[in-house]
Assembly symmetry: C2
Homo-oligomer: 302 residues x 2
C-alpha cells in the first residue's frame, strides 16, 4: 500500500494563540514560528487581520509579519475576515517587503454564527469572500478559503451539507488556492467527515485541493483527520500542543494537536516532513513559557 | 446507509479504577456500577482476580461481586490472569449465588511485557489461557479472551501482526465467547487497527465475535475505535470519563472514554443503548468523588 504524504498547516501562531488570555510578545511569537520552521512546518498561519479590540492577541499582526524569516521554503498565511483584512494583508508586501504569501479567507456556514463572529450572513459572506479572493488575486497574492462551522454551529446546531456544498460551489467559481472545511466547534464525527469531504471532492473534481480543520472539543478530532485523509484530504490544519479555540464560539477548545496528528500519520506510514521529536521539544518549551501543560496527548506521553 | 449497533463493555470499575492511588470503597464501587447500569451499560468489567499485593484496588473483588444487583439484562465480567483467578471467579457462583457471568482471560502478545505483567511468556500464556478457557467452560461459565499489547509493547516496541494472529488462532481453537485485541499502552494508529482487525476478521471467519480495547495515550483512541468499527468490530471496551491505565505499563494513560466513544457513534447514526446525557451526569458525580476532572472531552464540553 502506498500512501500519499500530507501537508501540515501549523495554525498555532494564529488559531492557537488568539484565545490566550495573556498577550504573548511579538518576540515570543516570532521565536515560536522559528521553532515551528525548525521542526519542519512549512506552511504557517502567522496572524489574522482582525480589529485589535476584538482579538487583542492579534494586535501586532503587522509586526509579527515584518519579523518573519525570509525563507524560500516557507509559506506564511494571514487570515482575513473581510476586504479590510485583505488590504492589510496586501499592505504587508508593499515597499518590496516579503510580507505574507497567502491570504486565508473565512466564510461561516451559519447565519447566526456568521453574524456573531464576523457580522455577516451566509449570503453576505459569499459576496464578501468573492470580492476578497478577486481583490487578492488582482494584487498578485494567493488566496484560499475556509468554510467554518461546516460540521455544526454553536447557535443553530445542525449545519446542512447542502449549505456547505453550495458555499463551496460559489467559492470554487473564484478558483481559490484551496477550499477547507472547518469543524470550528469540534462537534463533527468521522461518518460526517467522510460524507461531507466525499461530496466536496466530487464537487471540486480534483481541480481545487481540499484542506481539513478540526478541533478536538469532543475527542473526535484525530478520528476526523483520519476520515478526511481516507476521503482524499492531504492538507491539515493543526496547532502545536493543541493550543487554541475560538473566542466567539462557546466552549470551542483547541485545534487538533500537531504532535497527535503527525504521530498518527507517521505511524500509519504517511509522511509530513515534520520531525515529531522536535515538535514535542517545542511543545515543552512553549508550555513552560505559558506555565501550563498543553492538550497534546503525544507530548504528554513522551 | 444502515448501521450496525455497537455493544459497550464498561470497564471503568476494573480497568478504570485499578490505577487509582486511593482505595475506593466497595460501597462506592457498587454505586458506580449501579449508575452505569442506569445510563445503559449492560456489560461491565466489575473486578479482577489478581493478588491484592499487586493491585490493592481489586482486593475487594469478591465483596463487589456479592453486592451486584441481580439484573437479568446485565452481564458481569471478572478478569482472570491465570487459573487461580478463574477459580476465584467460579467460587463467586457457588452456593446458588449469581456471582460473575463471564470470565475475561488476558494473554499478553509480548514475552517481556507478559513476564512483567503476569509472569508468563507468550507460549506460557497460550498454555495457561487454554487451560483457563477449558476450566471455565467445564464449570459452566462463559469465557472470552483479550490479547493485550496487540499494537505495541512498552518494552519491546513493535509487536508483529503475525504474533497476534498466531495467538488468536490458538485461542480460537478453544471457541471463546469472543476475542479482543487490546492496545494496552495506546500506541496504535487507525491504519494498524484496520490492518490487524481486518486480518483477525478473516481468521475468525465470523465464527467468533471481535472486541476492541483502546487507550487514548497518544490521542488515537477514538480514531482507532472508528477504524475498528469499519473493520467489523461491534463490541468496544471503554471506561466512564476515560478513567484508567495499567499500573505495570509505563505511562499507559486512560481507556477511551465511554462518553467520547458513544458521542462519536451516536452522531454517526450508530446505536449503543447508552444514554449519553446520563453517562455525562455519572462522570460529573464520580469526578467530584475523586476530586478531579476526568479525561473525557465530551463530558468537559457538556
Amino acid at each position: 500500500m502506498t500512501h500519499n504524504a500530507i501537508e501540515l498547516v501549523e495554525v498555532g501562531p494564529r488559531d492557537g494563540l488568539q484565545n490566550e488570555p495573556d498577550i504573548i510578545s511579538t518576540r515570543s511569537k516570532l521565536e515560536l514560528i522559528e521553532r515551528m520552521l525548525g521542526f519542519g512546518a512549512r506552511r504557517l498561519e502567522v496572524a489574522s487581520f482582525v480589529h485589535p479590540a476584538r482579538v487583542p492577541q492579534m494586535a501586532d499582526a503587522e509586526d509579527v509579519i515584518a519579523g518573519l524569516p525570509d525563507r524560500a521554503d516557507a509559506t506564511y498565511i494571514g487570515l482575513a475576515l473581510n476586504k479590510r483584512g485583505v488590504m492589510r494583508g496586501i499592505a504587508t508586501r508593499e515597499g518590496g517587503k516579503r510580507g505574507i504569501d497567502q491570504i486565508g479567507c473565512v466564510l461561516v456556514a451559519s447565519d447566526t454564527f456568521g453574524q456573531k463572529n464576523q457580522g455577516q450572513t451566509i449570503a453576505e459572506g459569499i459576496a464578501e469572500n468573492r470580492d476578497m479572493i478577486r481583490f487578492a488575486k488582482a494584487e498578485g497574492i494567493r488566496a484560499q478559503i475556509t468554510i467554518s462551522a461546516a460540521f455544526g454551529c454553536p447557535f443553530e446546531g445542525e449545519v446542512k451539507p447542502e449549505t456547505v456544498l453550495q458555499i463551496a460551489e460559489e467559492m470554487a467559481a473564484e478558483a481559490p488556492e484551496e477550499i477547507a472545511l472547518a469543524d470550528t466547534i469540534g462537534v463533527g464525527t468521522p461518518a460526517q467527515v467522510s460524507d461531507l469531504f466525499g461530496k466536496l471532492r466530487e464537487l471540486l473534481g480534483g481541480k481545487i485541493p481540499m484542506r481539513a480543520h478540526f478541533h478536538n472539543t469532543r475527542g473526535t478530532g484525530i478520528a476526523n483527520a483520519w476520515a478526511a485523509y481516507q476521503a482524499g484530504v492531504l492538507i491539515f490544519d493543526a496547532s502545536l500542543g493543541g493550543l487554541g479555540g475560538c473566542p466567539f464560539a462557546p466552549k470551542a477548545t483547541g485545534n487538533i494537536a500537531t504532535e497527535d496528528l503527525i504521530y498518527m500519520m507517521e505511524h500509519s506510514g504517511i509522511d509530513s516532513g515534520v520531525d515529531l521529536e522536535a515538535a514535542i521539544t517545542t511543545n515543552h518549551w512553549f508550555a513552560e513559557k505559558l506555565g501550563r501543560q498543553l492538550p497534546s496527548m503525544v507530548a504528554r506521553a513522551a
